[in-house]
Amino acid sequence: MTTKADKRHHMDSMLMRESMVDKTVMASTDTDGKVPVVRMLPHVHIVKIGARSILEAGHEVCYPVVDVLNNILEKDKLILSTGGGSRSRHVFSIGIDLGLPTGVLAQLSAADALGNAHILGTLLSPVGVVAIPPEIFGHLLPLFIRSAPGVIFNGVPPYNLWEHLPAVGRIPPNRSDAGSFLLGECFGCKTVTLVKDVDGLYDSDPKENPDAQFIPKIGAQELQQRNLKTLPFDRIILDLLRNTKLVKEFQIVNGHNPETIAAAVRGEHVGSIIYADT
């Protein structure tokens, strides 16, 4: 501990007396060459199960997905997540009409996703995979993963009232796809797969345009430049991919063809892969 001329008490370390807004100081914290970022869960896979596309699509769609997940869980560890689906869209429409801000909408939508996490947890209970309360999920995740074949969380990141402000409109930009991706990056997971009801990414919505062209693999920045009208995942992931260190790509697969989930976890290219092209 030192008290220097500026009369502030300092502890000696590389960031002492420095501004953490200073670009040179920030660059000094990039030690990738010397000490790579630790991968906390390098063998674990993130699989996000779409709410509208799978969980709400009825047991004819959902049960085969659960069967495949059961098979995967026999040998691979999974962190499963869900979104809020139609109920979140409904609460967004009411909340926006009532004049509530984005942070409140984010807080509200986490509850819908948590409900869906509990539905998935009920279906996977026989193999010991349940929805973990958000308050303890992150801190105890490695312990749960060591103890159980997998865990489920509500994919919505815990941004709550602190949700980022969208450039256009009121909808929270960090939703359950982004939350699943961010968690995979922090814990250094092996793969991130988003399970939807389309084969992957198209140049327009294949449900509206039968001539939509499939895009099997594309860089995040290239995709941003193409400025497609809609995407089958949270747009903010394209920004996140610019700065990731551990997760450099994610894959979108079609849960209506559930074997693609198992293939994606094995590392096979069966849907659309969006990768960091920085």
């Binding site: 670009k23 992150g138 941004y159 909808i171």
Partner: protein, 271 residues
């Protein structure tokens, strides 16, 4: 859900993609309510203020108490010296940004607790994010609350574009509180008069900037800025809180003046 139960926006939200700009533009048409329009958010710096100890903190606490009858204050705390220490140790040991975010939260929480004990006899509570539903009640009853400035992103903190330090720290967390509640002001209490062209602690030629827009500030591309870059990014998209003021809390009376709406430091605005 049956269509007749849904509003026009409800139908659009059910039918369209949340990535579709035409839908997002539709959601912008609804006027947003300011939830706590009389409240002021004050962020008290960690390294710049609390780490100076009694000499800096006691007069500011007195000033907060003097203002209790006149202003509602939501007071956030910075992290500072110990966060820098944990970030240094953490970076050297390969910790991911999300883990550093957890570490920073702990330090900002320590600072919140210390200020809270100093204000305890005035009945001012310290609230964690989970207690924010009680915030309006405490403000109504006691006119102030203390919270830790770090946003609760923990393991979900996105990586920065340079290096590893969490990009959304206590300036950002405090700012987002002021925006989400539609507060009447966002005041940053630091140990400098406001924004300078360079760090005035290191560069004697640094010149003071009393007023600037986010756009102008970004165009200047300064190597160092008095608030986190993320605050400036969020301000561009803000509905309510389109200006912030950075003041020197070491000067007695500055906080009171800023609470009264006077210009005593640097005002950064997004208009």
């Amino acid at each position: 859900m049956q269509d007749e139960l849904l509003s026009e926006l409800g139908v659009s939200l059910m039918e369209k993609s949340l990535t579709d700009d035409s839908l997002l533009e539709e959601t912008a048409k609804y006027e947003q309510v300011a939830l706590l329009p009389d409240a002021n958010v004050i962020k008290i710096g960690g390294q710049s203020f609390i780490d100076r100890g009694r000499r800096a903190v006691f007069p500011l606490i007195d000033e907060v108490v003097e203002n209790l009858p006149h202003h509602k204050m939501i007071i956030g705390t910075g992290a500072g010296t110990r966060a820098r220490h944990s970030y240094s140790v953490g970076v050297d040991l390969g910790m991911p940004t999300g883990v550093l975010s957890v570490l920073g939260t702990f330090v900002s929480m320590q600072n919140a607790r210390m200020l809270h004990y100093l204000l305890a006899k005035h009945g001012i509570p310290f609230i964690e994010p989970v207690q924010f539903p009680q915030l309006p009640h405490y403000l109504q009853e006691r006119n102030a609350v203390i919270f830790f400035g770090m946003p609760p992103y923990i393991f979900w903190q996105p990586n920065p574009s340079i290096g590893r330090i969490p990009p959304h720290r206590t300036d950002t967390g405090s700012y987002l509180v002021s925006e989400v509640f539609g507060a009447r002001s966002m005041i940053y209490v630091k140990d400098e008069d406001g924004l300078f062209t360079a760090d005035p602690k290191k560069d004697r030629n640094a010149t003071f900037i009393p007023k600037i827009t986010v756009e102008e500030l970004k165009a200047m591309d300064l190597p160092d800025v008095v608030v986190e870059h993320a605050v400036l990014d969020h301000m561009e998209n803000a509905v309510h809180r389109r200006s912030i003021q950075v003041i020197n809390g070491l000067v007695p009376g500055n906080l009171t003046k800023a609470l009264n709406g006077e210009h005593v430091g640097t005002i950064i605005s997004s208009d």
